[in-house]
Symmetry: C2
Subunit: 195 residues, 2 copies
Amino acid sequence: MKKGEATRARIIDETGRQAAIRGFGAISLGDVAEAVGLSKSGLFKHFDSKEAMELATLDAGFDRFIAFVWADADDLPPGRARLENVFERWLDWTEVENAAGGCLIVAASTELDDQPGPMRDLLQQRVRAWRQRLAGEMKALREPPMSDAEAESVVFQMKSFILGHSELRRLLDDTGARAAARSAFDSLMARTRNP
Amino acid sequence: MKKGEATRARIIDETGRQAAIRGFGAISLGDVAEAVGLSKSGLFKHFDSKEAMELATLDAGFDRFIAFVWADADDLPPGRARLENVFERWLDWTEVENAAGGCLIVAASTELDDQPGPMRDLLQQRVRAWRQRLAGEMKALREPPMSDAEAESVVFQMKSFILGHSELRRLLDDTGARAAARSAFDSLMARTRNP
DNA sequence: ACAAAAAGTGACCGATCGTGCCCTTTCCGG
DNA sequence: CCGGAAAGGGCACGATCGGTCACTTTTTGT
């Protein structure tokens, strides 16, 4: 009922935090349990296995990501304004909100991209859905709308700049990372919009 | 002497392979030893600790990366031709040469970007050196040479497309990943070169 | 060929891994 | 307020973790 759900949420939260830092494969049930103030066996009342816990964490991570990045997108007109806001919040997500550990999704993507299983399947499905949402948004940049292929190409570059920003900011401690990403994205938008 | 060096190289090779797949934090000495045909204690005659083994592996990984990607760059004129060759071989490196596990450096970068220690220090130092080499190359695209800031901005985008390609190809199994990356890079080169 | 050095083995250490079982405590609907 | 269900703890399991030590086998320089 109520209590259980709250504990489950705390477990998921802590798992996400640790997995973003050390990777899903390197976290341990004991560490998560201790950080959350539970015994290892207490954890198993909420998840049947470590993998079930990881799956729930990854799924919740996507929900949190979309809720954060898309927060004020619904109030904005489709197209450029909305895309620029999403990009800006996406940068926030990487360097501010998730200050400790960076984006869980990016971490999981490079960790699990060659390990078959339900984790990778979930990752694929939700990343594809996110890219499709962005691609749909890209089409509003032009009238008549650009082709699917062109929209996907723009999404590719947008996501690329997010990944580049993440490396520059998080690994190389470059404070100019945000400016570099924004400038690259602005240039992309400028040469993509309706003439 | 001779025999030891060969074994050490095999260990490093196998460690790199496994770390690219599962991450440095998730590999175990036992697995590496077994795969290489050694006992765990045999491993310790070549490395004093797991971390020393990981450091040697990461360092050697950079050497192999540069040797592969830069292979025919020295025979090419500086500037656009050389950069395009490097980019092409960089894509090769991700999707062909390192078919199993992808690029060790990319994997290590996202895994270790928030774990302080000698591994992250080494990563920073060598990634910075590589970016500086590329930035120097960028300057040959223009006469008079572009500013440091502008060169770094172009390097940022180049590296971003590499990361984007890696995700598209390895996580999303998108066979069009290479074309997307090449097209984005071509466009970048076109608007960067000497007018 | 020989001795010293290097390479490699097997047993073992304490700690921790994910997990199952059984018990107690706490919560919540009737 | 009560009874059943949910939440959580204690404990132990077999396996594996990184690492040490004493020992044997192989390699190498001379």
